[in-house]
Symmetry: C2
Subunit: 437 residues, 2 copies
């Protein structure tokens, strides 16, 4: 039986998952492929640290070049993460005629256009299913399964750490800090959780997904990013009174005024399927002109789920290689990737949740609503409760659609009122419908 | 620019969707494919009836052979449904070197093995994304995106009509009959709804999905089928008191005692993502050894969603053809499809919901539970309410895991008791966990 040689760079968590799958499912993979997937070499700078999966001594190396320069290796799997030396390794592999599989969203979000271009020139494939939504075969769905569609919306819960934290805050009422601590204790969050809780990792993934959906270059810098560190359990509770659940949402939307790319805490209706995505799970909700609404749900991280996505890319490559298909699909799913007009966050039109912290005296509501009215922001619902928080009472409002720029100005003005005691909390709302009835 | 010629047989609802997509998204498809998809001919026995999408007169024909015998046609799309002449058309197309796209689950569920074998012999592809879960790219997910996995479980809500009916019964308390009537009025159910409400359509789809997941032949006859016609709103209500939601579930599960293939009304926990699948939506929940739990959600029927799936198959074929990939993936995703040991429904072990209709007198509960005990069926919860229904009171029980055969015997014996006034209602329970926390 024919065999394909795989070189794996990066014997970390995901690397162990890949090795485990290639070992334990080798028979089923052989039946599905008609060829053998053979792990020829594994490179890592540290061969000593304890790992959950063993590798035969004689295929281990500390030198990635032993993989990159081996003419027998067909597929290079890059799982070291970060920009360098990952980028150099990938370029070198492509240059030497190897196909590449990577899970490196941070690299692709920033250098994807360059790398995809380089792959195209070398007529080789960079496969990156594992870079977005972990084990969920979402890149495949977008580039292939939904390719008949003009896609106009992607809404994603793309970071399991952030979703775990928000779920705990929602279900137990704990503070952000305590929920983060729990996530760290359970191994869902890293010691430095910045990428996860500031929305950066989510933005990496959104930039990649949006590029495919909208036939545009990967545009990470254009993504508006706002994390979950300022979320108070109080806001989650008030949101629920209005029928909303809080999620860190990645939003890519094609509008008549340009493409929106944004990551921020977002209220979604409690009866929407996205609201039911709990804990470390990820989900991506897509609207296409033909298919309507579809959603993909699963684990977005972890040794085995991410390993599943990496191996599915290897399987795709094996099917391409053994059938002489060369580069069957362009990296972003289109032969004509075109710059798109982007809509800055200032021009966003959406509805908003505001929580004002005001002193409890007559006329305050009138002052606040007066300023909102001046900026054309119309209110659809108000809750004012007697509860005092730090010498002030929360006044919570839901608006009709308003323009972000006007909202910012109005809040600036409101926050300068002497009856207002703290910065106003703002959460954007996605008034999603279309959930089945 | 190169062009691929498509012949469409069946100018019905889905056919119109396909034509609409090829028309309105032609530019985006050209960018994604680098070739033009050209609808060369459309055949239907009735060219007169009004349709939502027009076709130029000169490409219309009443004679499918004008497509099947046209040497310029690369891809034949079969959308007439039913067994014959669909089967003959597909064989003829394959024989003449054309690839085939079909949405015909009834045909594939019963004659899939023969047709796939015939396609293999002719080195041509039968693509059938649209046959399972409509617009959701689920076949692709299973054969490709999750191909790294040893899959052990598929749980599907695969019929939008049945799910719409159950959702209405759950949310408004109406009877099955009234909910069916509403579904018919809204166009979700056909005048003869048998295939949908008796679980047959769901079983067609399950047989296809299970064959891919478990590397086995399509085994429609082996699927246990039970529809939703006997469901009483009372059962939905009692289920909710135990924290369950009722769904018509397609279940395929690999167990140590063989493979379970069954379609029946099933209680799932209210906080599980499957419980949130409302109305005409479909969803498929899969467990794989590497990926863990994943779910795919979307519209399982309709002109445009099903059209989306058909066109995604055409896109796949176009990518194969233009890159000389021939048959890149075997029909069921494996080169070694092997007969599997099937587990008959009698040997099923699961927990059950029973609703007994008993006279309201002392000792009844003891008689019933005595018989259950005799058959080794252990009770985990009971509700007995004063409410009289037709001269009897409902006694509702949830069991621990029990064997179906024993359950049947016990219920037979119980239903013969003179204190029992009607046939006992039985609903199987899926005690799903793993939903995020």
């Amino acid at each position: 039986m024919e065999r394909l040689n795989i070189g794996l760079i990066g014997w970390g968590t995901v690397g162990c998952g890949v090795i485990e799958i290639l070992n334990s499912n080798s028979e089923i993979l052989r039946k599905r492929l008609g060829v053998e997937l053979y792990l020829k070499r594994v490179a890592d700078i540290d061969l000593e640290k304890p790992r959950p999966v063993d590798v035969p001594m004689d295929i281990l190396t500390v030198d990635a070049n032993q993989i990159l320069e081996d003419p027998d290796i067909d597929i290079v799997v890059e799982l070291i993460g970060g920009t360098e030396p990952a980028k150099t390794f990938i370029r070198k592999a492509l240059e030497r005629g190897k196909h590449v599989v990577t899970a490196n969203k941070a690299l692709l979000a920033v250098h994807g256009n360059e790398l995809f271009d380089f792959a195209r020139k070398n007529q080789r494939i960079i496969a990156y299913e594992a870079s977005v939504a972990g084990g969920i075969p979402f890149i495949k769905a977008l580039r292939e399964g939904l390719a008949a569609n003009n896609i106009d919306t992607i809404l994603g819960i793309l970071n399991g750490t952030a979703n775990f934290i928000l779920t705990r805050m929602t279900e137990t009422g704990v503070s952000f800090k305590d929920a983060l601590k729990e996530a760290q204790e359970r191994g869902y969050a890293e010691a430095d959780p910045t990428l996860d809780i500031e929305g950066i990792d989510t933005a990496h993934k959104l930039a990649i997904a949006a590029a495919i959906a909208f036939n545009m270059p990967v545009s990470f810098d254009a993504v508006y990013k706002e994390g979950i560190t300022n979320i108070d359990p109080l806001d989650i509770e008030f949101g629920r009174e209005f029928g909303f659940q809080l999620k860190l949402l990645a939003i890519a939307r094609k509008t008549s005024k340009g493409i929106e790319l944004r990551v921020h805490p977002t209220f979604v209706p409690c009866d929407h399927v996205l609201a039911g995505v709990r804990g470390a799970y990820n989900a991506v909700y897509v609207h296409g002109d033909a298919v309507g609404n579809v959603m993909f749900y699963g684990l977005g991280a972890g040794m085995m789920p991410t390993g599943s996505a990496v191996v599915s890319d290897i399987i795709d490559l094996a099917r391409d290689i053994t059938h002489g298909a060369s580069v069957r699909i362009p990296p972003l799913g289109s032969y004509e990737v075109e710059e798109a007009e982007l809509k800055p966050i200032d021009e966003l039109e959406t509805s908003y949740y505001f929580r004002f912290s005001a002193v409890d005296q007559p006329g305050v509501l009138s002052k606040i609503s007066g300023i909102l009215g001046k900026y054309n922001i119309s209110i659809s619902a108000v809750i004012q409760k007697g509860r005092h928080v730090g010498g002030a009472v929360p006044i919570v409002m839901i608006t009709h659609e308003a323009v972000e720029k006007a909202v910012r100005k109005a809040l600036d003005e409101i926050d300068r009122l002497d009856v207002v005691r703290a910065k106003t909390q703002l959460v954007r709302i996605e008034n999603l419908s279309g959930n089945g009835i």
